[in-house]
Symmetry: C2
DNA sequence: CGCTGCATTGAAATATCTCAATCAATGTGG
DNA sequence: CCACATTGATTGAGATATTTCAATGCAGCG
């Protein structure tokens, strides 16, 4: 056997038993049509577009967002390496929201036709892909709680902790510095607040020694416990650390 | 052939081509273990619980919600007849949120073991079930936009329009009166505002002749156009009126 | 050097919350 | 039938959170 899939090495890492998922990653990687690159802030997929393929995020970061006619924008997710950015287009056929590259991104293009053939042969893989789209839904629900019940400062704290935790699961975070170059405006658009107010929240968080902002917009987490306390963070919704186990799937089929 | 499924007659009505889905509904109905009833405001499923079956909502209305330790609650969806209230537990195995009966509800209990066997034999059904869980995700995203970018009055307007539109697809709305006995507190918990403020918003909506509240908390929509304008409502996210067509599925398999 | 994009700050306006009180409808026990 | 408790709706007043507007600072960049 070979070294294992390279492009998709992070797919569902930390979520699914590694022994279980290795073959599935390889099978998926085999149907990747090509890789494609977008530059920072380029539109990857437009809202409403009909899609014949989905993109898996190999490198870089992307933003999923809804916008209205006045240009007001609400982020609904920050995609990190290891995520499919628009897998829901496989069952849904079109996008109800837009996708924008935050940084330069490298994407693997997975044709829906090949995917349909593959999941027909591999029920395990079908279940895993379904699971991955429902992780998005669980994250959406958590964001709904944040937007509905936390104040601005706590929402920002929550986003910081969520990103750190997801990056940790993907093997992309350990030093305390978030490697994602989100602007304060992006935090504002995720948190449903104005950019000005986001700035004031960051100032407070810095003054209290919870985070620091180094040059080049690098965010360093100084007091993770305080961030978790502020945001009432409970990582259960991320279904991390192998929530989907081998036996769980095996005993169903 | 018989009259068709009775319990599941509303499943994905308006979303999927009726000729396509008839057999799938019958196959699903055949594995329903039993029906079960809960009274108003009873807890149907507790957050965090591991589930071996999922519930389909035959009659009545249910609330999906997240709560924190202080009892602050955020609704994430209002379930109406024709919805699975917790189908995501099939791939996820446990619930990241709680489910409460709003009214007396009648549910069909679908065992995951039988479901696994069924979707293994019926790729179309698997796709349809997956689709139905992604509809929830799309609705979550729309709610995120509402909570993040609309003011209290517009959020309430949006919820009213969404419910009317979903009920219409399910064949449960036509007269202008919403048949769902949501309290003002429920609207508040869905909209991320206080019950007091929800009350003031309703007063404004009534004074402007947009809605009326009859006795017994019945909400009547008087000016739907104004509600849609306020909430910037675009029904695309509901994937209604047969978004998922026969040919869409057929050409994939 | 002058742009441009982003961060920062202040001040006033607005939205929303909290607290406390009242009201109306309903149900319950005596 | 009355007295009383309960639940949800309603209202007012003051406190707090957040927005908007306008201005400034600051760094990279052609």
């Amino acid at each position: 056997m070979r070294d294992g899939p390279v492009m998709l090495e992070r797919f569902l890492r930390g979520r699914v038993d590694e022994d279980l998922v290795r073959d599935e990653r390889a099978a998926l990687e085999a149907i990747v049509a090509r890789t494609i690159t977008f530059g920072p802030r380029e539109e990857v997929v437009a809202r409403g577009k009909r899609l014949e393929h989905s993109y898996y995020l190999i490198e870089g970061y992307a933003l999923r967002h809804l916008s209205n006619h006045r240009g007001e924008r609400q982020l609904v997710q920050v995609s990190i390496p290891g995520d499919f950015v628009d897998l829901h287009a496989f069952p849904m056929k079109r996008l109800d929201h837009g996708i924008e590259a935050l940084t330069r991104v490298k994407l693997a293009e997975v044709p829906h036709s090949a995917l349909a053939e593959l999941v027909g042969r591999r029920p395990h893989l079908a279940r895993i892909l379904w699971f991955s789209t429902l992780l998005d839904a669980a994250m959406h629900r958590e964001w709904l709680f944040c937007l509905g019940r936390l104040n601005a400062e706590c929402r920002i704290a929550h986003l910081i902790v969520e990103l750190a935790e997801r990056l940790r699961l993907a093997g992309l975070y350990s030093s305390g510095v978030l490697p994602i170059p989100l602007l304060q405006r992006d935090f504002a658009e995720a948190s449903g607040i104005s950019a000005v107010h986001a700035n004031r929240c960051f100032r407070v968080l810095q003054e209290r020694g919870v985070v620091t902002i180094d040059g080049d917009a690098r965010l360093r987490i100084v007091d993770m416990a305080e961030l978790k306390r502020l945001s009432q963070f409970d990582s259960a919704y991320l279904y991390g650390d192998g929530a989907l186990k081998l036996d769980t799937l095996a005993d169903q089929e």
